[in-house]
């Protein structure tokens, strides 16, 4: 078990800007280096783990559903969960429960749980690094 833990906070919804992808790349790099990762998602960020996200074809590009292989953030989270498990690391994802309720996105993928700012405060106190991947 690593003694280095990075805690991320993400606010932005999927499919709207690049900051979230950058935060995901930093999480991937942290796990690759053998660090534990905590993520607190609030406001639009809680939709990142929404289990009912569905890919689509892209007629403008002339690609079928299968060819398009549209990215889904829930699949990114699942892939990072799997990577952490394989490396024996922690990848703990907490969605702000109030934000989830506001948006009706209660169906999170396995491995993501409800929580609140108190969870984030605890992580902030314990982590070696804090990354706020939003603004």
């Amino acid at each position: 078990m690593s003694d280095t833990t990075l805690t991320f906070l993400i606010m932005d919804a999927p499919f709207e800007q690049a900051r979230t992808t950058t935060a995901f790349r930093m999480m991937e790099a942290a796990l690759e280096k053998g660090y534990n990762v905590n993520v607190f998602a609030y406001e639009g960020g809680v939709s990142l783990s929404f289990a009912l996200q569905q890919p689509h074809a892209n007629a403008v590009h002339g690609r079928t559903f299968e060819e398009e292989q549209h990215p889904l953030t829930r699949e990114w989270i699942a892939a990072l969960h799997k990577k952490a498990q394989e490396k024996g690391l922690v990848f703990d994802w907490v969605n702000c429960g109030l934000c989830v309720d506001e948006r009706g996105v209660n169906e999170a993928i396995d491995g993501c749980r409800r929580g609140g700012p108190r969870d984030f405060l605890g992580w902030a106190n314990q982590s070696n690094s804090l990354v706020i991947g939003t603004r």
Partner: protein
């Protein structure tokens, strides 16, 4: 109705969407017989740079197979009959050489940009 589409915020979500949703949206409008043209300004002028490579994104075992190709998307828009303008000053200040630009892009100055509005019924800013 002719509508000029001004795009300023480049690369906002091109990784997750595998294109720029505004350019995608405009292309759909064109297929619906909308009279639309595009102006690239600010950071979005970089969409006109050829041979962009956004490949290589992966998270664990997930790997992106269809990364965005903004230059090709713009070329497709041009081939559809959409005129794509780009602000010359915004290209110059970013040091983008002429040889790196799509040949179908029409460069206009900021002064010409303002006058361009007279040719359209509506101006949409994204």
């Amino acid at each position: 109705m002719k509508a000029l589409q001004i795009i300023q915020s480049g690369y906002r979500c091109t990784i997750e969407e595998q294109d720029d949703p505004v350019i995608w949206f405009i292309q759909v409008l064109k297929t619906a017989e909308g009279e639309v043209d595009i102006v690239l300004r600010g950071n979005a002028v970089n969409y006109a740079v050829i041979s962009q490579d956004a490949s290589g994104l992966s998270f664990g075992t997930w790997t992106q197979t269809q990364p965005s190709k903004m230059d090709q998307d713009l070329q497709q828009a041009i081939d559809q009959g959409i005129t794509v303008y780009a602000i010359a000053e915004d290209i110059a200040i970013r040091g983008i050489p002429e040889s790196k630009l799509l040949t179908g892009i029409k460069q206009i100055s900021r002064l010409e940009f303002a006058n361009l509005f007279n040719n359209y019924d509506q101006v949409w800013t994204w």
